[in-house]
């Protein structure tokens, strides 16, 4: 799936090549480095909100913000892996819900389980869900969109079937596990540190590993990637397994953070995850884990600043939608301009 399309550059031919104006070039370059423009947007948002209410930058408020975005950041980074290969995984919310409930069940069945074991089991279960996704996509050769739409339903259904209306409460889980969800290290929530580690690891992998670069090649042109010897099928399968494992990790952390679990945990989360990735500039011709993580932080911050700015919280989802449209529109515009510029340059060279 291409969330942003480079197709039909023919339209760009009509655009005159941009003038030599320095300022314009600078803003354009700023916009092209998505991480930078995201940081600017985030800074502006925090500034405006703080001017309105200075408690927005208090320690507690920042802690809440970091805690709130940690799970979304992990999911958005996983989704980045999938989207750069021209696929999408809509089942992450359901995987998170299933793993979160499974973690609760584990502690009900074996109260003495140490939390690292629960964490590993959760990641493993998530990876199994990813194997189902990746396997079906590889075997059936149908778009990931359709398969993961199906597993979105199926995993959630399994969750409901298993839960059968029950709810698991914080009292059923060991204290050490719940502390994981609220503990801070040097004032930073442990959850956010986990998210940071994931961002750094995936970001480094995508940037510096051969197989990471190959993911971008697959996304740009699967046929060309195949012809140049990249095992496309195996890479795509691995990407879905990795994304499933990260969703599993997020599920365990969700259980630790909220304590109260039913089968509806994480419903509709996939939309926010895709939004975070798209706003973060993740598309077939690029995007990084850092951008997606910043997108997730921005979305979470918008949520909490709406409350501070006394804007009806019902606006939040509408803002998310508008942001997605703006982000893909901007990407499109930049792609067209880039194409026009390249054409102009080659014309000069000739």
């Amino acid at each position: 799936m291409s969330l942003t399309d480079t197709g039909a550059p023919a339209q760009a031919a009509e655009n005159p090549p941009p003038g030599p104006g320095r300022r314009r070039g600078l803003t354009e370059r700023l916009l092209a480095v998505r991480e930078l423009s995201l940081l600017l947007a985030l800074g502006a948002l925090i500034l405006v909100t703080t001017l309105r209410n200075d408690r927005f930058l208090s320690g507690q408020s920042i802690k809440d913000l970091l805690l709130g975005c940690a799970i979304l950041v992990i999911l958005a980074v996983g989704q980045t892996l999938v989207i750069v290969t021209r696929n999408v995984d809509l089942s992450v919310g359901s995987i998170l819900g299933l793993v979160a409930f499974a973690t609760g069940e584990l502690f009900l069945a074996a109260p003495g389980t140490p939390w690292p074991v629960a964490l590993l089991l959760g990641v493993a279960l998530g990876a199994v869900c990813g194997v189902v996704n990746g396997g079906l996509i590889a075997v059936a050769k149908v778009p990931a969109l359709v398969i993961t739409l199906g597993t979105l339903y199926a995993f959630r259904g399994i969750d409901y079937y298993w839960a059968a209306g029950r709810q698991i409460n914080a009292a059923d889980m060991p204290r050490s596990f719940l502390r994981l969800g609220n503990q801070t290290v040097l004032g930073v929530p442990a959850l956010f540190l986990v998210a940071l580690i994931v961002v750094a690891a995936v970001g480094f992998y995508l940037r510096s590993y051969r197989s990471g670069r190959e993911l971008y090649a697959i996304g740009s042109e699967p046929a060309a990637a195949r012809l140049s010897g990249i095992p496309v099928g195996r890479r795509v399968f691995a990407v879905f397994v990795a994304n499933g494992a990260l969703a599993g990790l997020a599920g365990v952390l969700y259980a630790a953070r909220f304590g109260t679990l039913d089968a509806a945990a994480g419903t509709g989360l996939e939309l926010q995850v895709v939004a975070a990735a798209v706003v973060g500039g993740v598309a077939i011709f690029g995007g990084s884990a850092y951008g997606a993580a910043l997108g997730a932080v921005l979305l979470t911050t918008i949520g909490s600043s709406l409350a501070v700015l006394r804007i009806d919280p019902f606006w939040q989802q509408a803002v998310v939608g508008a942001l997605i449209l703006a982000a893909i529109g901007l990407d499109r515009l930049l792609a067209l301009r880039m194409a026009a510029r390249l054409r102009g340059r080659s014309a000069h060279g000739a």
Binding site: Y153, Y161, R226, I328
Partner: protein
């Protein structure tokens, strides 16, 4: 282009021969897909009637059909859109927004309900036009655009009514929405749905415009060279989709006598499932309306029967999800096996001669 975006990968040169075999097989498989779905529907109805108590009663049939009206309405334009290789994931949000707008207008505008209904349908068309503008005007992939408007329209529907519900619609109207055709247990609302289905079916299967939709689904560029105005047609398809969503919003509001921001949440997934189950290819260019109508009914019958058999309504999503996966995996698997058999036969033929 945009349907390219729904492909996992465009076929490579190395795969061309294999792909050709697969497509031929797919065509064969899909020719019988309509028949297979209708047969599955008949089997499901008979089995459910025999084994599930209370399934084969008039009252159950009434509610089964009533529940399917919004799904069937949305599936009609979705079929056409998917055939052109695009997708509209914002349909359920447009239904929700239509519903809350209807509630808010009724609450505060003092207009007559007839006028409000017309307004809601027109507003729906306007929301669809926004989708169409982004997809065809700006050349963005419909998947990304409609994920965006899915969030936008759902958000706006909460903005319109907050977490309130408007429920004081006149009883004569809400009763009319669930009324049955006198002397039968078939709801009257089925009639306009069937009429619309007929219109969509005729347009799709018996007019040049309908053929053009298939052409676009198979190859945008070739369709353009053949004189089809691809962008304009797709734009109007999104507008029609929005208008039908407005209509479904009106029905939803009256049927449940309640306008709420979360009306029809998640329905878009069921609609896509029904359309794909009905044999429309997600790659575009293939499928028919008869199969989709049968797919909608099959989905409804299965869910209804399982619900009567005391399966938790939420756990039923397993059925929806599995059906969706099976309906895309099965045709491909069948085509694969056929292509393989064909090749083996050819090889055997070669060695024999």
């Amino acid at each position: 282009m945009a349907h390219d975006s729904l492909y996992a990968a465009p076929p490579s040169a190395a795969d061309t021969e294999r792909e050709a075999g697969r497509l031929a097989g797919l065509r064969g498989a899909l020719g019988s897909w309509d028949a297979a779905i209708v047969a599955a529907l008949v089997v499901a109805v008979v089995l459910a009637g025999l084994s599930v108590p209370n399934f084969a009663t008039g009252r159950n049939a009434q509610f089964l059909l009533l529940d399917l009206v919004p799904l069937a309405l949305l599936a009609l334009p979705m079929t056409l859109i998917v055939i052109t290789g695009e997708i509209d994931l914002s349909v359920a949000s447009m239904v929700g927004l239509g519903s809350t707008l209807m509630g808010q207008l009724w609450l505060s505008s003092g207009l007559s309900l007839e006028l409000i209904c017309v307004l809601v349908v027109l507003l729906g068309a306007a929301f669809g036009a926004v989708n169409g503008l982004f997809v065809t005007g700006f050349g963005l992939p419909s998947l990304a655009v409609t994920i965006g408007t899915l969030a936008l329209y759902r958000g706006l529907s909460f903005v319109v009514l907050g977490d309130q519900a408007v429920a004081d619609f006149p009883a004569s109207w809400t009763a009319a929405a669930v009324q049955t055709i006198p002397g039968t247990s078939i709801p009257a609302a089925v009639v306009p749905v069937l009429l619309l289905a007929l219109v969509f079916g005729v347009v799709l299967h018996a007019t040049p415009a309908g053929r053009a939709l298939y052409a676009m689904g198979n190859n945008d560029e070739a369709a353009t060279f053949a004189g089809v105005s691809v962008a304009r047609t797709k734009f109007w398809l999104f507008v029609v989709s929005g208008a039908v969503c407005g209509l479904a919003g009106v029905f939803w509001t009256l049927r449940y006598a309640s306008a709420r921001g979360d009306n029809a949440t998640g329905l878009e997934l069921t609609v896509v499932t029904a359309v794909l189950l009905g044999g429309v290819s997600i790659f575009g260019g293939r499928g028919g309306l008869l199969g989709v109508v049968a797919g909608v009914l099959l989905l409804g019958v299965l869910r209804n029967a399982l619900q009567l058999a005391d399966v938790d309504a939420n756990a039923l999503t397993i059925v929806t999800g599995t059906l969706l996966i099976v309906s895309v995996v099965l045709p491909n698997a069948v085509a694969d096996v056929r292509a393989r058999l064909h090749r083996r036969r050819q090889r055997a033929h070669l060695t024999a001669s």
